[in-house]
Amino acid sequence: DVKVTQSSRYLVKRTGEKVFLECVQDMDHENMFWYRQDPGLGLRLIYFSYDVKMKEKGDIPEGYSVSREKKERFSLILESASTNQTSMYLCASSMASGERADTQYFGPGTRLTVL
């Protein structure tokens, strides 16, 4: 079974702090994604990556950056956390090709609160 893990289930940070959210997948997937989920807004794509050291902006990249130094790890960085970044953050991965290429496998989520 594919396993996607996220470094924290719950995180509380202060405004202005630099925040790192880590995501690791164990199935050698090429693609990795970061979403945020907010009530009434659904899942929104922040950034994604199709390969090591490669990144693409999603629909709401402002205030975020990412890093993919190794294939299995995709990090989301909040350079200076703000209260409007309080949200549930979900990481996902998928294969680049094949029968199940479009299926995404999600981690358990990190609920971030910025005070």
């Binding site: 659904g42 794509l45 479009d102």
Partner: protein, 108 residues
């Protein structure tokens, strides 16, 4: 812009009844997927239906796709309390775009 929109937003049924959720979308797609999310957790993939397929089954799940109407439905038969969760459709055309979900509550 929102691609998939689920209907209803919330659904409450008794155990043993069937649950039907609908999804409408706006543009052409490669495939449509349904995911499930238990409260406060990540999403779990349930089923994928390709644009050239009309119906697909997986256990107690039945998915239909009507590309002419740009709509899909997810039917859960003989529901159980453990089916209580939020269900999302996601359309794929290069990347996945998720709807806002249907909250299903199955009462024992």
């Amino acid at each position: 812009s929102q691609q998939g929109e689920e209907d209803p937003q919330a659904l409450s049924i008794q155990e043993g009844e069937n649950a039907t959720m609908n999804c409408s979308y706006k543009t052409s797609i490669n495939n449509l997927q349904w995911y499930r999310q238990n409260s406060g957790r990540g999403l779990v993939h349930l089923i994928l239906i390709r644009s050239n397929e009309r119906e697909k089954h997986s256990g107690r799940l039945r998915v239909t796709l009507d590309t002419s109407k740009k709509s899909s439905s997810l039917l859960i038969t003989a529901s159980r309390a453990a089916d209580t969760a939020s269900y999302f459709c996601a359309t794929s055309l290069g990347k996945l775009i998720f709807g806002q979900g249907t909250e299903l509550s199955v009462k024992p």
